[in-house]
């Protein structure tokens, strides 16, 4: 027997009732707040800051920043000006349509250690020396290759 893993559509009269109580204006207000929060977060990431660093820039607690990014915050003009100033953008940029979004950022450190090879690491050639372009390859040439060491997060 195959088990369906698809999400089923949930219909509830109570839910429909709640939705019908939300006016188009309220929907638009919620959407604007969420888009504004997403735009600020995106600009924060573009600057390479995390929440704590951003909180420091705008002299707020990190918990306040979390609240901002929840999309429920009703920002005042003063706060938006402060945010725009810290991000180094014009206040209108906060409302601008996102053309390019940063969706991923990661930093890793990799270390390479050169070891003396115990095997020949040179490509075997038919002659002792062959020329490709401006490169010389020799059978006797010793090559040293790095070993990968990844520092786990």
């Amino acid at each position: 027997m195959t088990k369906s893993t698809k999400a089923r559509k949930y219909n509830s009269s109570k839910l429909q009732e709640l939705f019908s109580e939300v006016t188009p204006l309220e929907m638009e207000q919620t959407k604007t707040k969420m888009q504004l929060a997403a735009r600020i977060e995106d600009l924060m990431r573009s600057n390479g800051w995390n929440k704590s660093q951003f909180a420091e820039k705008v002299n707020k607690n990190p918990s306040e920043i979390t609240k901002w990014f929840s999309g429920t915050q009703n920002f005042t003009t003063d706060v938006l000006t402060e945010i725009a100033f810290a991000l180094g953008v014009d206040i209108a940029t906060l409302f601008g349509k996102k053309q390019i979004q940063v969706i991923y950022r990661k930093e890793i450190v990799v270390r390479s250690i050169v070891t003396q090879p115990t095997i020949i690491l040179t490509t075997p050639m038919s002659q002792d020396v062959e020329v490709y372009g401006n490169y010389l390859f020799s059978r006797n040439q010793k090559s040293e290759m790095p070993i990968t060491q990844i520092f786990k997060s």
């Binding site: 735009r39 969706i103 950022r105 890793i108 450190v109 050169v114 790095p146 990968t148 997060s153």
Partner: protein, 151 residues
């Protein structure tokens, strides 16, 4: 054109451009000191241009000495990919944020790092960084986005 399967969606993409954004060398002023061990501080970032169906993967590498006290060189490469079936693959959330499948992120990151390895070798060949070959990186390292290793 590359094709990868992510659950039910087949992702079709191609490399549109490779840009060398920056490269620099800085020979340390330590006489007769041969530098053999290197640290590669890699910063990788993906940007999406939805209207043009483009994904930019920008790889920046700082090459440092063994104890990370000196920056010996730096290189930035941007790989630009076009996702043919962009609308099928990339979902837009309610707040306007774009969501890329993890498999696509990992694949594009792996290709971009390999490309950067080649560009780096080409740029630094014959210099004191000739042997600074970027080691192979486990794609699992690219999981859990937004986590930054504190240095």
């Amino acid at each position: 054109m590359g094709k990868i399967k992510n659950k039910d969606i087949k992702i079709e993409f191609q490399v549109r451009a490779i840009e060398l954004l920056n490269s620099s060398l800085q020979l340390p002023a330590i006489p007769n000191a041969s530098i053999t061990n290197f640290n590669f501080n890699i910063s990788i970032e993906s940007r999406v241009d939805a209207p043009n169906k483009l994904v930019f993967v920008i790889v920046h590498i700082d090459i440092k000495n063994d104890d990370q006290s000196l920056v010996l060189g730096a290189l930035s490469v941007s790989c630009i990919y076009e996702i043919a079936n962009f609308e099928e693959v990339i979902t837009v959330e309610a707040d306007g944020k774009l969501d890329l499948p993890q498999l696509l992120i990992e694949t594009l990151n792996s290709i971009s790092i390999s490309t950067t390895r080649g560009v780096m070798f080409s740029m630094f060949k014959g210099t004191f960084l000739h042997n600074a070959i970027l080691p192979i990186i486990d794609p699992k390292q690219f999981q859990s986005p937004q986590t930054v290793i504190d240095k």
